[in-house]
Amino acid sequence: MSIRLAWLSAVWLLALGCTDDPVYVDSPTAIEVTDVAGSNTGSLLLPIRLEKPDEMERRAALATDLGVMVPFVTRDDLELSVEWTVKNLSDMDGVARVQMNGANEWFGYNPAVFVVDAEDEDAPPPLAGDVPLEVAAGAEVSGVFREDELAEAALDLELITRGGVTPFRALLDDDDGLDEFDAAGTPVPSKAFASLVRIDMILIADQHMVLEYAVRARDHRDPALLHDDLMAAPPEELQPLAPAEYQPAAP
């Protein structure tokens, strides 16, 4: 009996082990800063497969029920993290900052568009990152934006865009336990929170440096949202996602 139980447990554990295994999506290109005190940006749009008709119907029914837009890729579907490495290619010690912004399937976040008077105002912070890093000549430094940071970033983006909250308030408050937010008088529940689908990485450096990054995704949707072939997937098999850059209302 105990032997049979051990076998059943083993089969169950093996089956469990196969669920939600992480997938790594490498950045298509490295981000390089060659100028002193320069910056450069790179983006990675996640290879999301096409939405199936039954998923579309369910999403439309939920949107009607809730009275709000419901994304195809929800925050509950994907747990994302970003692993990055900065390499100092120069022969001088330097300081680098790695910032992360991004977009859900509707809106992208660009802090610069919130600046009305460039002389008197600082741009709001990025969705994640911006910590100064000392990188010795020829050395490399690695880091990670964790799953909880990206979940928070996705919610912050929702608050800024659909919620109409200022970026400073959204980004500086800890909204981790938020179950819903208000979108023009209509509550948006957590099951309608949009996931990030595009990761924008920014490297700011005072020496010649390169930033490489990879997105680690745990996909909870069945069937999986990420295309099996990832970045090698044919474009016609990918969901056409073209988030617009969010523009705040004029003051």
């Binding site: 196969c18 997938v23 690695s142 099996d228 072939d229």
Partner: protein
Amino acid sequence: MRLLAPALLIVLVFTGTAHAEPRLASKGPYSEASVGATGFIGTSGEYSHPGPAFGLRAGVDVFSWFSLGALLAMEVHEANVPPPPEGEYFQLYQGGADGRISIPIGWVNLFGDGGVGLARISTNVLEKVDVLEPGEHYSPYFAAGGGLEYQLGNRHYASGVAVQWQLLPAFAASQTLGARVYLRYTY
């Protein structure tokens, strides 16, 4: 070398008893649980660290010298690819069938085994170093190995040590080499 010394000691202990009378041993259906360590060798060995391996076997002794079995196994490895990512782990799950030929020497069975099956790798982290193709998760595997089995005083129980080499053709012909200790129960 650290692994070799205990293995040689076990061989010496077992061979020292080889002239003893054979012990009574059950023959028939059996179950086996094993723990050990496995590492990729060759080119793929650069991209992962050795890790723990766990296995469950069940089968039947067709003859006193030959048995057939089925296997479920899992290995855990830390990937060692150029960062990013860094410090990530992957698992290798295996299911297959194997056959084993034994030569009894006293209380000890010297055996050789071989098997085939299907392996699944849990992530695509090795895609970056071309061990995997995009979307590739499965490979057939071919295994060969051998070891020593010691028949315990209870006729149902035996324990042993074994080594195994594996070839995973679809994962850029990766090879693994592992060692395990196991406990076998024969009904």
